[in-house]
Symmetry: C2
Subunit: 569 residues, 2 copies
């Protein structure tokens, strides 16, 4: 950046690269709408005023000019998209910067995986920032591809673009004073540290905040959100694909705290981004619910930049990056154009740039399953009459434990579709240990076939739900063959699959293709009898042993509240 | 800090060090008043809630508990006090943290001097933070003790406690694109960078802000302050000993921008701190002028901490430093007690701690004047009939140039008290160059004798105003003998002096003694006919060649607007 040229343009002594004339500028610093022209040079805002001399003039024609949106908390992996396709999806939605915690990629491929995504992130017309994942792996009751300790956190924090410590999900560890967890927090001294503390209140919250945790995005209730603000946390109000907290939390935003509140998406699927939008959809909904539009924009721009200390982002001001949106209307946040560093990158919902990543480029082979046969998937009957079943709670990621008398065949426990009891299998895929966890799940409704995915929080082994072992076996083999992904199998045949060969989590394919394939997979699952919405998403949480009550990892069934593996009787 | 003990106390599983019960807590995060108890351990707030178990209980008895005040911009040197005595003055006033730009000490003694003050600052019960001085020296038309370049800025920024770049006073340099100045700004990339841009508006302001300057404390007009807020600067509203901007600027503070405004003192004398207060006086006055008391406190606590990224300061919340004030009343900010790291450090305006600095400790000999005789102070008549006189503008630091026919005697220009034309002399004192600048000043009113000071912005040579050369000579000798300081001389006799042997700027003596001596010096000056208020302060700005219109340095008279030394005709 040629600072001295920027200064000359600002002074009016040199021609700008672009000048935006006749704009109503959304001033996020003061909450006002200002009228004026904006001169841009060197990818930065040179000045606001009566500038006219420029190589290019954009007539905003009385429409609004707002800073590019910044999403303060999201997980790239929830979209199944690689960063270039992610950018194609969200840039036309106005998201020109975002902060991601790559804890899915990192659980699979460690800091090397994070580094790879970061490098790809430099080739897209938006600013991606990263948090160092704090909880990899989530527990020691599962096999992950990588483990991050305090030294890894320190190493990642030295990389340009890594802002602080990612969401500290292990709140019981902090509250319990676990020194290993505290060491990771200490490694991020002086940096933003994101929280994750659902329902943590009162003295437990005070304890969690002892090392000063700057934000929380897990509040679901008014009082909870207010308490967190009062205790010094910034409130990230989340509106994702499954978790929707805006209606509950927006009423607590007022003159006294709005500058400490943000709007974020956390987890949003590619389908939802395409249909409804990204963080722009959250801003729009907040306005619809009664929030002042400028304030809603502040909560997805400057407030985020201030919290994460993103110099030059979040506002339209001299020296700031020229990341700007032309809005036809403020109340509907109708985005006509998006400019990144002063260059047009999207118009009328369409990206004006192409993918710049080589399509055959990914980290490395990450799906390594030890040879096994279909008999390995059988579940020995044991001596007890009953068996613990994982019961899905519709619309939530918690499960319930229900003890049932299962059907048996030849000394093995088998699925019983008539009672909606299906086999659930987790096959270790990082280190070819040969670990296979087998259990029963209720609530899927599948009448035949199997569904498999290598996206299985947080260790991302292969998780499969199915009626018979041969379909389950075929599904695992298909995921292995694709080096990750989703598939639907029935009658020994693969009906459809979505390969996710990048860390077994992301697709190199275009956005539209990923979305279409996901729709097809969901349709096929429904045809096989599946009765839950977003079955692959539901499946992906059944192996997450930090969410109550009963879960299955490659090591076996986990009693989450007791924090231990169940012993078979 | 034992974090795991802090967590245990927060959980309620261990006894606190102190618990403050029955408090009305000023919540700077949400702008509310909360009722509750505050547990403290390890010098930090463990929690807010129903804590009672502690080694010590402080019954706040329904009074208010507020976070310690933070002054975001002040110059230690304006008090003439060393840091321990400064702390004795301001801690009882509630200032428990402050950010100082030591550009006076640094002009004299370079980074070594700054380092010394920083080390002393660790021994006082308040948190001192520092900015790396950006403009040392102010110009090349004077001799300073030190020069700081970009490498020095980088070095200082590596020191713990140095937050960013000090006020960028050389705004013409930035606007003009001076690469030497821009290099210093670049050295502070990613750090807070304070501005100083009096009356800079429009395109010049845009140009000044090109490298993103975070704050300004020089706004004196409503529109100017608003424009700076709109362009992304934080507004520091200053209320010092001489510059008072609160009444003008407070009306612009509203719901949309208050969180980007701060209250600061900039320059406040020890006398004013004793009589009226420090930043507490500014908060009090803001409340008196109609600002909500909690908001006024936010502007001198959390807002400052957020701008400077002072983790754990500015609020009362878990993990935050237990720097707190017990207030009898909110509207009058009546401070009953001050606690630093949970320990009582002041009560009813009295410091509860002693000086901890050895009284004979200071940097080094800094007043080095080359031998000279009284004849060196004469001002040769020259060929021109008139001579340019520096005319003081009452209450301002700008001067006017007035060309007069001076009185002459034996081929020299001499003082003429009847016409209020006095001799002004600047004697170089850093490098014993023998440089002596001589000129005439109007407006002091002195009838006889001389006043001298080694505090002379920004290079701090010895500046003297006087009626006859022998008194001027004696005054210089007295300052030299004291290794810096102020004095009043008449009839060849030293009537009084205040030695400032620390860099020629600060006294090692107690606050009360410094204040008493300053009062005596001012009284004696009045007795000699001096008609200006704070004559030593006025004198200290007559050698500052970045403030219009005519100034005198050790190199001679400076035409400030032309930016050059005057040539004698």
């Amino acid at each position: 950046m040629d600072l001295s040229r920027l200064i000359r343009v600002a002074r009016g002594d040199a021609e700008a690269d672009v000048v935006f004339v006749n704009a109503r500028i959304v001033n996020t610093f003061t909450g006002e709408i200002e009228e004026g022209n904006v001169a841009v040079a060197e990818g930065r805002v040179a000045g606001i005023g009566d500038y006219t001399e420029a190589r290019e003039t954009v007539d905003v024609a009385g429409r609004y000019l707002a800073p590019g949106l910044i999403d303060g908390h999201f997980h790239l992996e929830s979209t199944y998209l690689h960063v270039d396709q992610f950018a194609r999806a969200v840039v036309p939605r106005g998201t020109l910067a975002a902060v991601t915690d790559l804890h899915e990629v990192t659980n699979v491929a460690g800091l090397e995986g994070m580094r790879y995504i970061m490098e790809c992130g430099r080739r897209i017309p938006m600013d991606l920032f990263f948090m160092a994942p704090s909880c990899v792996p989530a527990t020691d009751m599962e096999t992950s591809g990588a483990t991050l300790g305090p030294e890894d956190i320190r190493r990642a924090l030295r990389w340009k673009g890594v802002l602080g410590l990612g969401e500290l999900m292990n709140f019981p560890g902090v509250i319990g004073g676990d020194e290993h967890v505290l060491d990771k927090v200490r490694a991020a001294h002086g940096r933003p540290r994101d929280g994750h503390a659902p329902h943590v209140r009162g003295k437990a919250l005070n304890a969690y905040l002892s090392p000063i945790i700057g934000s929380d995005h897990e509040s679901t209730e008014y009082d909870e959100g207010l308490e967190k603000l009062r205790r010094g946390m910034r409130l990230m109000i989340r509106e994702g694909s499954s978790e929707k907290n805006l209606e509950e939390l927006l009423p607590l935003v007022n003159d006294g705290n709005y500058h400490r509140c943000m709007l974020v998406v956390d987890d949003r699927s590619a389908l939802d981004v395409l249909r409804e939008g990204d963080v722009d959809a959250v801003v729009r909904k907040a306005i619809r619910l009664g929030l002042d539009p400028v304030r809603a924009i502040q909560m997805a721009t400057l407030n985020v930049a201030e919290y994460f200390r993103l110099e030059g982002l979040g506002g339209i001001a001299p020296g700031y990056y020229a990341n700007m949106l032309v809005l036809r209307d403020l109340d509907t946040l109708d985005i006509a154009e998006a400019y990144y560093r002063g260059e047009l990158v999207a118009r009328d919902g369409q990206a004006m740039f192409r993918s710049s990543l080589p399509s055959n480029e990914w980290i490395k082979r990450t799906v390594n399953v030890r040879e096994f046969d279909v008999e390995s998937l059988s579940l020995a009957a044991g001596t007890s009459e009953t068996f613990p079943v994982i019961e899905i709670v519709p619309g939530q990621i918690v499960t319930r434990r229900r003890d049932e008398r299962p059907s048996r065949s030849n000394g093995s426990i088998v699925a019983d579709p008539d009672r909606d009891l299906l086999k659930l299998v987790v096959v270790e895929r990082h280190k070819a240990t040969g670990n296979i966890g087998v259990g029963l799940v209720g609530g899927f409704g599948l009448r035949r076939g199997a569904l498999a995915t290598s996206v299985a929080h947080d260790s991302h082994n292969i998780v499969v739900v199915g009626v018979d072992d041969s379909d389950i076996y075929a599904a695992v083999k298909e995921v292995e063959r694709n080096q990750g992904g989703l598939c639907v199998v029935a009658g020994g045949e693969v009906l459809a699959s979505l390969p996710l060969p990048i860390a077994g989590l992301l697709s190199p394919e275009p956005l539209e293709m990923v979305a279409a394939k996901l729709e097809e997979l969901e349709r096929l699952a429904r045809e096989l009898g599946c009765s839950v919405n977003s079955p692959f998403s539901v499946l992906s949480f059944l192996a997450l042993p930090v969410i109550p009550e009963l879960k299955l990892t490659d090591m076996g069934l986990v009693d989450v509240m007791a924090g231990r593996l169940l012993e078979r009787v």
